[in-house]
Subunit: 303 residues, 2 copies
Amino acid sequence: MMQPTDTIVDFRQLVDHLAETKTQKQVAVAWPEDEHTRDAVEMAAKAGFLVPILVGSEQTKAKYEGKFETIVVDSPEAASAKAVALVREGRAQVLMKGFVNTDVLLRAVLNKETGILPKGSVLTHVSAAKIQGYPKLLFFTDPAVIPYPTQEQRIAQVRYVADFCHAFHIECPKISLIHCSEKVDERHFPYTQGYLELKKMAEEGALGKCIVDGPLDLKTSCSAEALATKKLESPIGGEADAVIFPDIEAGNVFYKTITLFAGSETAAVLQGTDVPVVLPSRGDTIESKFYSLALATMITKSK
Amino acid sequence: MMQPTDTIVDFRQLVDHLAETKTQKQVAVAWPEDEHTRDAVEMAAKAGFLVPILVGSEQTKAKYEGKFETIVVDSPEAASAKAVALVREGRAQVLMKGFVNTDVLLRAVLNKETGILPKGSVLTHVSAAKIQGYPKLLFFTDPAVIPYPTQEQRIAQVRYVADFCHAFHIECPKISLIHCSEKVDERHFPYTQGYLELKKMAEEGALGKCIVDGPLDLKTSCSAEALATKKLESPIGGEADAVIFPDIEAGNVFYKTITLFAGSETAAVLQGTDVPVVLPSRGDTIESKFYSLALATMITKSK
């Protein structure tokens, strides 16, 4: 049996760990009017790590009454506002988007008076992937929210992924800053200079327990062989626990490529908000939504 | 047996096609002083589609005299200049980099007086990939040369990949313009507006026989199922023959991800120069170098 402090290397272990540690949180689900959302929420409830509060239609109430708490509202907008309010009241530690346009839920999340994004907090998207042939989970950011991160946003991204890795019992995570080559080129790619600053911050301990290196390309980050072929050395040693992409286009291409062509399972949440937000996209599988709920629960638990 | 006009869907068919059509070109190899370069060139010569002219050291001459034409020079710089000169003299239709730093060869290629890049021509990098699970070759650009293509450069990229597809007997190639979503967003991603212009140019026939669509993400470009899940329609129909990446970071992440995690074979050449330039990187396999030589030969043949 897995020990509660062993490093979690795939999603099955994550779900088992939540069960073994009897972790249980509340999730507010905004407008769960589609099968996919309902199936994922039911799976999470059955696995025991989440107790759902469904903010939806009369139909949802009729279907789930007596099984889950339900709150009836008359629109996706009202559902989003109410689900966010449940988080503010401390009644839910995870928020999930149902059959609502992302814009609608985000408006409720980002509302300056009634929302759940603290002032000055960086909102970003963090994913975890189990890629066939890679021996552990690989965390990455940001495939979906910040187009071209500033240095300040990138610092926040590194902190978030370090937190995620720690929650998964990776004591000193190896975080790689991705670029198309290993050379700093301030003229064409100013952020590669920022990478050096981040590396220095990590070495000085300003980012908590973690190893940060870059610029490295995806292969030299994730393959010791590729690193050796290029005759390079890196404290990451081709064994990255997390990779930070330079822009949303690179992050998105990675996300789409590993799910389409490399048989990967993924989970993702928004970070920066008071609680993790599960914001599935239409193309995600039910498993991916279920794993995202587990990821959100694990992150919340560790706080 | 394959017919000479059948669409070529993998690298084996490419090599067979060159043999069946008795295609044979000359390749000038700059400083072939490493095993990898020599092995790839020997494979191409044995397959019959390339006749090498080796511009290298005394050792190279001693090893290959009587087998291949050799020209002795005293440095990688001199080898680069001489190999480029052979192209200018019409003695070679393909140029290949050996054990030379990319910068050194590129300096010879780009020299305004003695080089082989026509004035005003857009230099870019075009790759072809055979990805496990994708039923045909997928051409893509640019993982290695242009950091953030201008609209003019992107138009050239579309023209090049269309030429490549035509050379591979794809009558009306489907070319997808990649973005992290399917929405035009001029504010955050000005090039998505440029995508619409490119689409219009293609519809008006200004780009030759091809179908261009975008913005599309990688999944909706390469998976009919993903397109249907998102309830989108596209003349590409999830069957892209080629994808144009918005920036070098996205292109490079794609290239590295498919080779590291999706068991892909790749080939690549520089385009824009008078002849295709094979510019392998240290991490490439011998097969990849060999396929790149075949790709270069095929492109040259069709001109």
